[in-house]
């Protein structure tokens, strides 16, 4: 068993993330985890939809949201999803350096997104005095969007840990599933954001 040896083009299986039983388990287990996460966010969306008009006299969705910033954030996150696809493409071609590069770009975009979100929250709190505690709508908004933001934060920390840990030793059958599973997570976060963009911001502006 040559777990620790880096892969070269000859030993590289077609799908390195699923080449071992451990890898296969991780891959499948993570899909199930994302299934659970889907229910988790579905419940948050449900709560938000029930409470989005319960402003208790405070600012409403229409007062608060500006689509420009949210549009930029959407672009940032969608692009980061694309760059993580590039990274996985290079993983399958066993090009470790390029994979790291694209993962790096993903991380940068992720941090940019997070920065925008912090700015947005800060803006609401100081300009509108709209906080987590001000109304049921406030609680639901910050919880839903904040849960997503928390997922982004955790994903970025995870990504950095993976990149740094494996920087020197390159790709092997032990860490390939780890990178792959991360990319799944990142896509999931992206999909959730698309729903947030639609349900929270667009519907908040239009509906």
């Amino acid at each position: 068993m040559s777990h620790d040896h880096s892969l070269n083009p000859e030993t590289m299986p077609h799908e390195p993330e699923k080449a071992t039983l451990e890898g296969k388990n991780k891959f499948l287990g993570f899909w199930f985890f994302l299934g659970g996460e889907t229910v988790l966010f579905a419940c948050l969306f449900g709560t938000y939809l029930a409470l989005r008009n319960s402003t208790a006299g405070g600012p409403t969705t229409n007062d608060l949201f500006g689509l420009e910033l949210v549009f930029i954030m959407t672009i940032l996150l969608l692009t980061s999803s694309l760059t993580s696809v590039y990274a996985m493409y290079h993983m399958k071609n066993n090009n470790f350096k390029k994979m790291q590069l694209w993962l790096g770009v993903t991380a940068v975009l992720g941090f940019a997104f997070l920065g925008c979100e912090l700015y947005e929250f800060n803006h609401y709190i100081h300009e509108y005095e709209f906080t987590f505690r001000s109304s049921a709508f406030g609680s639901a908004f910050y919880t839903l969007v904040g849960f997503h933001g928390g997922h982004v934060t955790f994903g970025l920390l995870w990504l950095l840990a993976l990149m740094i840990r494996n920087a020197k030793r390159g790709l092997n059958l032990y860490n390939a599933p780890k990178f792959y599973v991360f990319s799944l997570y990142w896509h999931f976060i992206d999909v959730v954001w698309v729903f947030i963009f639609t349900v929270v911001y667009l519907m908040g502006k239009v509906g």
């Binding site: 068993m1 499948l28 409470l51």
Partner: protein
């Protein structure tokens, strides 16, 4: 590893072994031990409830304490006793039944257990720290959000932590069953217990996140000032009820389906017959699980959701009776024409049929909306859910324990004690709960600290309490049997029941790698197939070779301990600034351990072919 070898080691070594183990069989022991401990606690709480209700206007406990006890009884029995005991049986048996060497994620398996245990400990710490939660196991807001003291906070944190453990366990079982079945073990050859473990895990995966969110919202409201359930700020308390029951109803099936599975295995073994209508049984299980997600609002018929919603949920609920009925009739058909052995495992299984049928009957009755306007939140409902949960899950756990005890420990539980325990418990159970159907209709709501004089409820409550004492005696005899068996129990061969499924093809207790050579499965009831075709032994699917095993780890224990500490931080940061210290230290421990786990490669180890050959002697 034989018991003799274990006994030679010192206490410290054994303890360390269990703290770090990732072996599913040892984790099963831990689950059974933890679940058993909380079962005793929950049972004591039940006895206090029954003593308080022995006569009208009794004052054995005060009103506030009574609410704490009834809350803790429900919460403990469901989350900390029934579920862990079932998870224990699943851990002990399912990998053996499908011919796997281990589960898919041994590390997570251990983490799941420790999270459950520390979650349960946090919840019960509330007794010592100013009072337990008192808003019922359903914790309806705003009673739960306005409940003074920290009781409900302990409920939130305790369930959050142990719920995370359960979720992890569910994912683990799913992947194990999909990826790690032995060669030839197709889905439609899996024993019913493995099937129900699979379906239960699906339920866990999709139901628990709803509880997670509900608990988060409750926690934010109580500890961080949000307004989800604060009507003055536009909050809506019905959201909690929805979230709770979107979790809570599937939870009921999480409790009952594994029992269905193990009864199927037991009936088929002791009737010496193949399970009647295997395919129908599997699909009935799937159908029950599927419908289980669409009926949550039948717990909310009186909330005022309107006649349309009430009718839809009523019909969906009644529909569940069909697959459940199919199961009952298939079990009877399995027994029909068989050669039935009645021992204590079988007694529990046979006791289950009439009991559970009664519970199912009242289940259909409470689904009938307008009739439920009378049943709802009365002792009728209390009777109904004890008929299904005790009559189904608890009977199931006890049947399973008697059935698999020889496999888990190499010793057989004493038959005589087992039968005595069954008859006392069975009698006590019906004495306690049958009368409660009528108490409910005669006007006794549930969660009543006292019932008043001259309301015609005295006799019924007295009978119920007498029954409860019989149940307690039955349980005590069972626990005595466990101790007696551990000390003086009779050792048994690997296959004492003339079993049909793969777990009986290994040694008792099994070696930590389960199967020296992965068996080749040639049909449903693989061992029975080999027996009837003359060999009586499984054919190996592979030559003897090195076996890859995972390393043990103390990290799951430390991680859970970290969350345990952080839990107190979360609760007390409301009153004291210093509480941020445990909060951050605890979360730091958790994240630190996750980082270590992520960064440190863990490739496991190999048991060589030579070692395996030596152990054979």
């Amino acid at each position: 590893m034989s018991i003799a070898a274990t006994q030679k080691r010192g206490f410290g070594a054994v303890l360390w072994d269990y703290l770090t183990t990732v072996d599913h069989k040892k984790i099963a022991h831990l689950y059974l031990f933890g679940g058993g401990f909380f079962f005793i606690l929950g049972g004591l709480e039940a006895m206090i409830i029954r003593i308080q209700l022995v006569r009208p206007e009794n004052d054995f406990v005060s009103a506030g304490l009574y609410n704490e006890i009834l809350t803790m009884h429900g919460t403990t029995m469901i989350f900390l006793a029934a579920m862990p005991l079932l998870l224990g049986l699943m851990n002990a048996v399912m990998p053996l039944q499908i011919g796997a060497r281990d589960v898919a994620f041994p590390f997570l398996n251990s983490l799941g257990f420790w999270l459950f245990l520390f979650g349960g400990l946090i919840l019960n710490c509330s007794w010592l720290l100013g009072g337990a939660p008192d808003a019922g196991w359903t914790s309806y807001a705003p009673l739960s959000t306005t409940s003074p003291g920290h009781g409900v906070d302990f409920y939130v944190l305790g369930l959050q932590i142990s719920g995370a453990g359960t979720l992890i366990g569910g994912i683990n079982f799913l992947v194990t069953i999909i990826n790690m079945r032995a060669p030839g073990m197709t889905y439609m050859r899996m024993p019913l217990f493995s099937w129900t473990t699979f379906i239960t895990s699906v339920l866990i995966l999709f139901a628990f996140p709803a509880l997670t969110i509900g608990l988060f919202l409750l926690m934010f409201d109580r500890l961080f000032g949000s307004a989800f359930f604060n009507v003055a700020l536009g909050g809506n308390t019905i959201i909690w009820e929805h979230l709770f029951w979107i979790f809570g109803h599937p939870e009921v099936y999480i409790l009952i389906l594994p029992a269905f599975g193990l009864f199927s295995d037991i009936f088929s073994t002791f009737a010496k017959k193949r399970l009647f209508g295997y395919t129908a049984m599997v699909f009935a299980t799937i159908l029950i699980a599927f419908l289980g997600f669409m009926v949550w609002a039948h717990h909310m018929f009186t909330v005022g959701l309107g006649p349309v919603a009430n009718s839809i949920f009523a019909i969906a609920t009644m529909a569940i009776a069909v697959p459940t009925g199919i199961k009952i009739f298939n079990w009877l058909a399995t027994l029909w024409g068989g050669s039935i052995t009645i021992n204590s495992a079988m007694l529990w299984a046979l006791g289950f049929i009439p009991t559970f049928t009664l519970g199912g009957m009242t289940g259909v009755m409470v689904a009938s909306v307008v009739a439920d306007y009378q049943y709802h939140d009365t002792y009728f409902v209390v009777a109904h859910f004890h008929y299904v949960i005790v009559g189904g899950t608890v009977f199931g756990i006890l049947a399973g324990l008697h059935y698999w005890w020889p496999k888990m420990f190499g010793r057989i539980l004493n038959e005589k004690l087992g039968k005595i325990a069954f008859w006392i418990f069975f009698t006590g159970f019906h004495l306690t709960f049958f009368i409660q159907h009528f108490l409910g209709l005669m006007g006794m709501p549930r969660r009543y600290w006292v019932f008043l004089k001259d309301q015609g409820l005295d006799t019924g409550n007295l009978i119920s309490t007498i029954g409860a004492f019989l149940m307690a005696i039955g349980v005590i005899i069972f626990f005595y049997n466990v101790v007696y068996t551990a000390v003086k129990g009779e050792k048994v061969p690997d296959d004492p029941w003339d079993g049909r499924t793969l777990e009986w093809a290994t040694s008792s207790p099994p070696a930590h790698y389960n199967f020296k050579q992965t068996p080749l499965v040639r049909g449903l009831d693989p061992l029975w197939v080999e027996k009837t075709e003359g060999k009586g032994k499984m054919t190996p699917a592979e030559p003897l070779g090195d076996i890859h095993m995972p390393n043990g780890s103390i990290l799951p224990f430390i991680m859970s301990f970290g969350l345990f500490i952080a839990g107190f931080g979360f609760i007390y940061q409301v009153n004291y600034t210093w509480a941020y210290i445990p909060l951050f230290v605890g979360m730091g421990i958790l994240l630190g351990c996750m980082l270590i786990r992520s960064l440190k490669d863990d490739h496991g180890y190999h048991i060589t072919k030579e070692e395996l050959e030596r152990e054979a002697d």
